[in-house]
């Protein structure tokens, strides 16, 4: 069953459908939330909040706007960012992140789920010029303000948006539409 079909059933209060979505995304969503929060409790709390929102129908997924996965992860990211700023107002996302600069080590062997997606995005990222990789990480994982991105990259404030735009464009060109764009027919 596609994500969208499951989502539609969740809207009709089908518990089984929610559980299936949970199983489908537990590992990757949890990993993403851990990456953002660097805190197991916060990551689980964020997980909790995401699925409560999904069940309650907070926020509406519109199939024409993109992939369900992107919508779900965006919701998780927003929840995580808000939790961090509420619980640890002194901690910047970037500080949490700095402690665990992502290694380029290969994923552990048991991590076979989503391997194709992982490989694809890792390869695409690796092909970007360093400054574009940097801006992608500053944007998505550290969630920096525009001013801080400017400071971190040593560029004027007014050019941040352009650099982000360029990086996204380069990244999109290297990713198959199936990874980020609208659901494909199956």
């Amino acid at each position: 069953m596609t994500d969208y079909e499951l989502y539609e059933r969740v809207r009709q209060k089908d518990k089984q459908a929610l559980e299936t979505l949970y199983d489908r995304y537990e590992r990757i969503l949890y990993a993403f939330l851990m990456q953002l929060t660097q805190d197991r409790d916060l990551a689980e709390e964020a997980m909790q909040e995401v699925f409560i929102k999904l069940w309650r129908g907070g926020g509406i997924y519109d199939e024409s706007k993109g992939k369900f996965r992107s919508w779900l992860f965006t919701m998780g990211r927003n929840v995580a960012i808000d939790l961090i700023r509420k619980r640890k107002p002194d901690l910047q996302l970037d500080e949490a992140y700095a402690e665990t600069i992502p290694s380029n080590e290969k994923s552990v062997e048991s991590e076979v789920e989503w391997q194709e997606e992982r490989t694809q995005i890792e390869t695409a990222m690796a092909e970007l010029p360093t400054e574009q990789q940097e801006v992608v990480r500053l944007m998505y994982f550290q969630g920096l303000s525009q001013q801080k991105i400017a400071d971190a990259c040593g560029i004027p404030l007014g050019t941040v948006k352009g650099r982000v735009r360029l990086a996204l464009k380069q990244l999109r060109r290297r990713l198959s539409p199936d990874l980020i764009d609208k659901e494909v027919e199956r």
């Binding site: 209060k13 518990k15 559980e19 949970y22 199983d23 537990e26 990757i28 969503l29 949890y30 990993a31 993403f32 851990m34 990456q35 197991r40 990551a43 689980e44 997980m47 909790q48 699925f51 409560i52 069940w55 309650r56 024409s64 993109g66 992939k67 996965r69 992107s70 919508w71 992860f73 990211r77 927003n78 960012i81 808000d82 107002p89 665990t100 992502p102 290694s103 994923s107 991590e111 989503w114 997606e117 992982r118 694809q120 995005i121 890792e122 695409a124 944007m139 998505y140 994982f141 969630g143 303000s145 525009q146 007014g158 948006k161 996204l168 999109r172 990713l175 990874l179 980020i180 764009d181």
Partner: protein, 239 residues
């Protein structure tokens, strides 16, 4: 700095609540920002896979799903499905407001002007860019205000803008309501800046969009999240 330049800070949730509301007002009318936001969000579905693998804690699934489904068994407060809670306000307001940056108020004012500009353009353009204003209603009461009904991709939005409302106390909010035969539903809350400027955008769900609302009103509520008005009406108009 124009409104479009706030997109990144909006996406990364650095805007204060006031700024966020203002930006969302801009977003509703700016196709470029809508597209760029869509692209930013689409890529979340890709970059998330760059995360270091992490083993989910044991028992997390049971804890999460139990809590989710427990919601259903808990006695419901008031809300039948037709009534939507006001949009979530993730930031604790007082704390965030202290963080309001130097130009925020001026910026907010500028954004309101820019939105009014956009509204004007929308009203005057023959080829609507996905969004079209269906009704513009001046509000009567103790300050200036306008309600717009807009339509975008088949969904209806209620946009309310104010100017010159009296300042709010600590937890108070201005709450917008749509009424039919005297019974209200909450359609978004907002706080004002030092000039009494405020904006709120509310997307009506399918049921709400079909209703023949007769009145729009703004009340001053002692707290956020009221499903029935407690405070007095400060602005209102017939639709």
């Amino acid at each position: 700095m124009n409104a479009c330049d706030q997109l990144i800070d909006y996406f990364n949730r650095h805007l204060t609540e006031d700024e966020r509301v203002q930006f969302e007002a801009h977003l509703a009318t700016c196709e470029t920002c809508q597209q760029e936001l869509e692209q930013l969000e689409a890529l979340v579905g890709g970059v998330a896979f760059l995360s270091e693998p992490a083993e989910p804690p044991s028992g997390m699934k049971a804890r999460v799903l139990d809590r989710v489904f427990a919601e259903d068994e808990a006695p419901k407060a008031v809300e039948p499905n037709a009534i939507k809670p006001p949009p979530p306000t993730p930031f604790s307001a007082p704390k965030e407001r202290r963080k309001t940056s130097w130009g925020a108020f001026a910026l907010a004012a500028a954004l309101v002007l820019s939105l009014i500009g956009n509204g004007y353009l929308l009203l005057n353009q023959t080829e609507p860019s996905g969004i079209s204003l269906t009704e513009t209603v001046p509000l009567d009461g103790e300050a200036d205000g306008v309600a717009y009904l807009a339509e975008q991709d088949g969904t209806r939005q209620l946009i309310v803008q104010t100017n010159g409302l009296t300042p709010l106390e600590a937890n108070e909010v201005y709450q917008v309501w749509l009424l039919k035969d005297g019974s209200p539903i909450p359609t978004g809350a907002f706080v004002t800046d030092d000039k009494g400027n405020g904006t709120v955008i509310y997307t009506l769900d399918a049921t709400e969009a079909d209703m023949d609302w007769d009145t729009v009103a703004v009340t001053k509520e002692p707290k956020r999240g009221n499903t029935m008005p407690e405070g007095d009406i400060v602005l209102s108009a017939s639709l």
